[in-house]
Symmetry: C2
Subunit: 196 residues, 2 copies
């Protein structure tokens, strides 16, 4: 693009962000250097701070700056319930419902054998130890309703049953506010089977 090696290096670095190709990376580098060098400096500091400070909660595995996260430390929460989610973003969605007051276990991924991510790589042993600590009475599987998410829920479910724990799964059904005419057939079929 130019004789500025540090500019080319910046474009290559931006290209490593997920969802960013060469054109977007060029546009970002150009924007930062031409219009917003303060944002570039701010981003550089934020990256370094986050890499230094952010680690995983020893109990629930989510991102935190402390050894145990604020949610796990909260005495007011129901310590007999454990909700298993894939990512901190999913945890955040659960929290925003305001309908759940138990604890979480964040998988930080999902089973994906093709990518070499099996039960060991996902650290499921830690989840099983946690579920069997005597305090937890219900494990709620809230992995995504995608193929990988369902497979992950199935594997965890089977492993927990062997250990004498019967987990629950978020209900499948018709989304709030939708008209049957426009809901996909698989969802309606599930809602029919799970009618109550």
């Amino acid at each position: 693009m130019s004789d500025a090696n540090s500019l080319d290096a910046l474009i290559q670095a931006l290209k490593r962000l997920p969802g960013v190709g060469i054109k977007s990376a060029q546009r970002m580098a150009f924007h930062l250097l031409q219009h917003d060098r303060a944002a570039a400096q701010y981003l550089a500091r934020a990256l370094q701070d986050a890499c230094t400070l952010v680690k995983h909660c020893e109990l629930c595995h989510t991102f935190t700056e402390h050894s145990v996260c604020a949610t796990c430390m909260d005495e007011k929460r129901d310590h007999t319930k454990l909700c298993v989610v894939e990512t901190p973003a999913d945890q955040s969605a659960m929290e925003r419902t305001g309908a759940y007051h138990g604890l979480y276990f964040v998988l930080m991924g999902k089973l994906s054998p093709l990518d070499g991510i099996g039960p060991h790589e996902l650290g499921l042993k830690k989840l099983f130890d946690r579920a069997c600590d005597g305090e937890v009475q219900e494990v709620i599987l809230a992995t995504n309703f995608t193929a990988e998410g369902e497979a992950t829920a199935h594997v965890i479910s089977e492993a927990l049953k062997v250990r004498g724990i019967k987990p629950t799964r978020l209900a499948r059904g018709v989304p709030v506010g939708s008209e049957l005419e426009y809901v996909d057939l698989g969802t309606i079929a599930h809602a029919l089977v799970d009618r109550r």
Copy 2:
């Protein structure tokens, strides 16, 4: 999203990149911290290096790490021709054609009165001084064929005519490899008027 302030700061910093919203920023931060901390460190260093090293060429205004860029320093190039482009990416596209061997002037933007970018903010005086230095004999306007690009070319063209220089503009016409049936009518009309 969590009790990790540095993570929230990182998400906010990523959100300042052009074309990145809150969801993309969360996904990027999550990916970097969970799967690729090396990329995060690399990006932080690249941002700082670029901010420190990259400046504008004193002659053509493009990005460079030196006071004058390699293109302007090149004795083999035709110093009587000056091609005006909007961005270094446009300059790079011109270079890749292999059909141009003159020098460049990179505007680093375009006229956009609504955004408060007039001839002064764009630094057009520097371009006019350059065009009138006695060495330049032809100014080729290669701004984009968008509304702003055309307006920019028009303003530069009028100002150069006052100074006794008649600039040229890249030809408008039917793109190479296209079928007339699928070319927009404005383009065909221009190609008809400019037939040769």
